[in-house]
């Protein structure tokens, strides 16, 4: 039974390779590659596994500047059937709400109709985890976040996710949205021949504001409900001191220490 899947991907800086300028407390982004957000790669791998079992088609979807087509082509090389790029100067500066609105509208316009939307649980740059759930709400779809296993039977999915130390098993009907966690699967390495072809032959679909039928106030910086007021790297935390030993000795040591720091007063208790 064919399942039409959309995988939402985002191109992000390779945060693992980013260095910090400790003097100016800023991130040094020069020479840092842009990569597909790792959890989106997991989502794509999960989509490939589902298509292998059930048939269907996979659409890779991204919102970003023209440069983001690199991520789409990489997704095509991994095995996606088509790539859709939402790009428009007016989409810039979007917070997660405006982003979700744009993505959700695009998903609703895709033909054939989408059965399943897969997203990474969060990105390595913003880490919010908002976009998946917001898309589900906008499209009025059932959703589960942080999925670690997916099984499909007929028109329903059984999924597992870990939440607050509990392992939940949930069933959802399709269409639905899932955000995925690392435990779900490991993305395969892309054969080099596929990369060559993904960057040569295949046309991408490009949609702007008018194609989506949205208004300028609904997208981008103008359509954002939140503003980022400050971005900073917290100063490195000082290491605490750790003391071990028999309890009576520990208490003795601790009292001495707190007295020395002037936090308690031997005669009068805490200052």
């Amino acid at each position: 039974m064919n399942t039409n899947i959309v995988v939402c991907i985002k191109q992000v800086p390779d945060v693992a390779k980013v260095r910090i300028d400790h003097q100016r407390m800023t991130i040094i982004r020069e020479g840092v590659d842009s990569i597909i957000n790792p959890l989106d790669g997991v989502a794509l791998e999960a989509a490939l596994a589902l298509r292998e079992k059930e048939g269907g088609a996979i659409t890779a979807l991204t919102m970003g500047p023209l440069q983001s087509q690199e991520a789409l082509r990489e997704a095509l090389a991994s095995g996606a059937d088509r790539g859709v790029l939402l790009t428009d100067p007016r989409f810039a500066g979007a917070d997660t709400w405006a982003t979700s609105k744009t993505l959700a509208r695009a998903i609703s316009l895709l033909q054939p109709a989408v059965d399943l939307i897969l997203c990474g649980r969060q990105t390595i740059d913003s880490d919010t985890g908002h976009v998946g759930p917001q898309i589900a709400e906008l499209l009025d779809l059932p959703q589960v976040c942080g999925v670690t296993e997916i099984h499909k039977e007929q028109d329903a999915l059984t999924v597992k996710r870990i939440s607050d130390g509990f392992l939940d098993t949930l069933r959802l009907s399709l269409p639905a949205l899932l955000t995925v966690s690392h435990e779900l699967c490991v993305p395969h390495y892309i054969p080099l021949g596929r990369l060559e072809r993904a960057f040569s032959d295949i046309p991408l679909t490009r949609w702007g504001l008018e194609d989506l039928g949205l208004r300028e106030e609904e997208v981008g910086f103008r359509g954002s409900a939140t503003r980022v007021t400050r971005l900073f790297t917290p100063p490195p935390r000082r290491k605490g001191e750790s003391i071990t030993g028999a309890s009576s000795l520990l208490v003795e040591h601790l009292i001495r220490k707190l007295e020395a720091l002037g936090i308690i007063d031997e005669e009068h208790g805490t200052k």
């Binding site: 087509q69 690199e70 082509r73």
Partner: protein, 380 residues
């Protein structure tokens, strides 16, 4: 630093780097220590098209351009120079000549398994009495009805220990001064082909280098690659391409030396300061980085010429000459920066020092590269 890469080339480089860091680098020490060819790893790489990089998809390859190809060899070599050589030699001089000079039938039966990495290829040129002096080679291929009979001894065959398909360079027409040599495709399973023990190498350990000898080895005429007497021309053309791969391999090695040196020099304190704060060390690092970038540009230029189907012999010789001597120098400076630690096994530069030397020797020694370049200068 890579200049002017297309989006595709940038993604290819990133993809291979990821694979190399995750799958190759962790095994590099063990491959070097054991000196054993990593068969499982090679199989994994075969499945990802690493053994058919420049061969078109219709013959099972990835169909990549020269720039992409050399980026890949560089990234592999940064993690493991031994695997870089294996892949480069297989692609450039083992498989590509069959694509370039082979008949349709030869491409179908020999090239496809090579491109898929089901078979590994070699180019058997060097002999005990013929290294740089290629025309002194003595292996003979005597026509006998619808066969040739091969007799002779090839040494230092890269990938020899694990190959299924061997391109053998032999004298087929001793009396025709300019058309003495031909090239033959000889399967390792042919009776009369004998492989010697794997060489115990200084560096590039894990590469299955051995001698291959031929004792009345009979092969059908259909196994001859190209026309009789065209062997020298084919070999020179093939080696032009092979040099690009080796240049890339040397650059990858040099880059690894630089990265290791940067890291060590940042962490090692002497006279109350990290090594990086001393001018001498900064000079070492600056020179390494500058020359590595220069090597890349030289290589890039030669690749572009090749892809534009222009003559690139001199330029590829320059690239190979420059980057191979650079690799040796970077390894030397790398060890120097590491001091005594650089002479111990736990530090990667120790292996780089041993791996680097052969770069100045194989696929045309530096002296031969200089001859090629000089010849172009003097003929122009």
């Amino acid at each position: 630093m890579h200049l002017e890469l297309t989006m595709k080339q940038a993604v290819i480089r990133r993809t291979v780097r990821k694979f190399a860091e995750e799958r190759l680098a962790p095994r590099a020490v063990q491959i070097d220590a054991s000196g054993e060819f990593p068969l499982e790893l090679a199989r994994e790489m075969a499945g990802l098209d690493y053994f058919g990089l420049e061969i078109p998809p219709e013959f099972g390859g990835a169909g990549l351009d020269s720039v992409s190809y050399t980026l890949i060899i560089e990234e592999i070599s940064r993690a493991s120079a031994a695997m870089g050589v294996c892949v480069s030699v297989h692609n450039s001089v083992g498989a590509y000549p069959i694509y370039q000079f082979g008949t349709e039938a030869q491409r179908r039966s020999f090239l496809v398994p090579l491109a898929r990495g089901e078979h590994i290829g070699t180019f058997c040129l060097t002999e005990p009495n013929a290294g740089s002096d290629v025309s002194s080679l003595e292996t003979t291929a005597i026509r006998d009805g619808d066969s040739y009979i091969l007799n002779g001894n090839k040494i230092f065959v890269t990938n020899g220990g694990v190959s299924e398909t061997n391109l053998v360079f032999a004298v087929s027409n001793p009396s025709e001064p300019r058309k003495r040599f031909s090239v033959f495709i000889v399967e390792s399973s042919r009776p009369g082909l004998e492989k010697g023990p794997i060489e115990d190498l200084l560096g590039m350990r894990g590469n299955a280098v051995c001698s291959i000898s031929f004792h009345d080895c009979r092969i059908p005429v259909e196994n001859r690659l190209g026309e009789e007497g065209q062997g020298l021309k084919m070999a020179l053309s093939t080696l032009d391409g092979g040099r690009l791969g080796i240049a890339a391999q040397a650059i990858g090695l040099a880059e690894a030396c630089l990265e290791n040196s940067l890291k060590y020099a940042g962490e090692r304190y002497q006279f109350g300061a990290p090594l990086t704060s001393f001018g001498t060390i900064q000079g070492f690092l600056a020179d390494m980085a500058t020359r590595i970038d220069a090597a890349r540009l030289l290589l890039h230029r030669a690749c572009r010429l090749r892809d534009q189907k222009q003559n690139y012999s001199s330029q590829s010789a320059m690239a190979k000459l420059f980057s191979s001597e650079l690799a040796v120098d970077c390894a030397r400076v790398g060890v120097q920066i590491h001091g005594g630690y650089g002479c111990t096994k736990p530090y990667a530069v120790e292996r780089f020092y041993r791996d680097a030397k052969i770069c100045e020797i194989y696929e045309g020694a530096s002296e031969v590269q200089r001859m090629v370049i000089a010849r172009h200068l003097l003929n122009a």
